[in-house]
Amino acid sequence: MRRALAIVAATGGVLALLAGSPYPLDVQRLATAVAREDDHVTAVELAAWLRAGKHRLRVVDVRTPPEFAIYHIPGAENVPIESLTAVPFPAEDTVVLYSEVGIHGAQAWVFLRALGHRRVYFLRNGLHEWLDDVMSPTIAEGAPADAQAAFDRVAELSRFFGGMPRKLTGRADTSEDALRARRRGC
């Protein structure tokens, strides 16, 4: 009897080593993912994934249906943030969440991680980053060669999605105020 109990305890102990965290929300793991910036993708990275046809990629727009109807990233599906728990996300799917400027997307990321999904990312600055960096990328005239090469790669992606890469002849307004004015919402 004692030997049997010892075997049960030993088995439970060894399996505990492999079973992962007993907390449904492993805050330390989430904090590490955020610190390593493994929690999000940039708009250009997402565009590259979409064009390459990344296996089992799901782009999820967590805004409201009317906002989704006005414009959304090509191939995206609309799952309003309050409906996230009602939609199944198989473990094999890579899910990229986005909202207007990223806040709701980041919150949705926490929700899905809390539900146990591992391959989840959010689009860093949301739809506005997509519009700025993929659909309307710009470069200043006379930019250094490496910046020009990077722009050429983005411009190619942009044209794939019907975007309009532009070369700025004047001085671009990239101030924080200008960015904030462009990026309103959640």
Partner: protein, 175 residues
């Protein structure tokens, strides 16, 4: 009602393990009887494995489990005082109640002594207050303290318990 049922079950288990007998408990300190160590370590292993696996299977929410706060120096002093009382009386608070309930006079005296101690501590609490609240470290757990996964701590506790049980059994056979 739940607390009453748990208390009765706890007392029953202590009595069945023979821990209502102060000579058996004193044997722990003379290294002639390791029942206390085995019972207590069995309880720790059961709780560690039970809490881990119930939480892992989604039955228990560990965030809702109360973790007492750590006060280093007061708890160290309290532990030494507790240990000295344990050795002198041959009983601890739980086992003294079991001993008293099963008709042992020494158990009754220890229970009375505990009540006197509680009253004296209450009366002398004001000057002790500063020490009582000192060296606060908050609720600490081994996974947080050692920065290791919860499962690794459970494994270490189980391994340590099994090794200790084996050593205690061997010691008892040789003694």
């Amino acid at each position: 009602m739940i607390a009453l049922a748990i208390g009765i079950a706890f007392g029953f288990c202590l009595e069945r393990a023979g821990l209502g007998d102060s000579r058996k408990l004193a044997g722990q300190f003379y290294f002639t009887d390791f029942t206390v160590l085995k019972v207590m370590f069995s309880a720790i292993v059961t709780a560690a494995l039970g809490a881990f696996w119930l939480a892992r299977l989604g039955v228990l929410d560990l965030a809702g489990v109360y973790v007492p706060e750590t006060y280093l120096l007061p708890q160290l002093a309290g532990g030494l005082l507790f240990g000295a009382g344990f050795v002198a009386a041959g009983l601890c608070p739980g086992t003294s109640c079991v001993a008293a309930a099963s008709g042992h006079g020494d158990g009754l005296m220890v229970v009375l002594g505990m009540f006197v101690g509680v009253v004296v501590t209450g009366l002398a609490f004001a000057p002790l207050r500063h020490f009582y609240d000192s060296t606060a470290r908050g609720p600490l757990t081994f996974p947080q303290l050692l920065h290791v996964p919860y499962g690794a701590v459970v494994f270490a506790v189980v391994a340590l318990a099994l090794a200790t049980f084996a050593a205690a059994e061997r010691w008892e056979r040789c003694a």
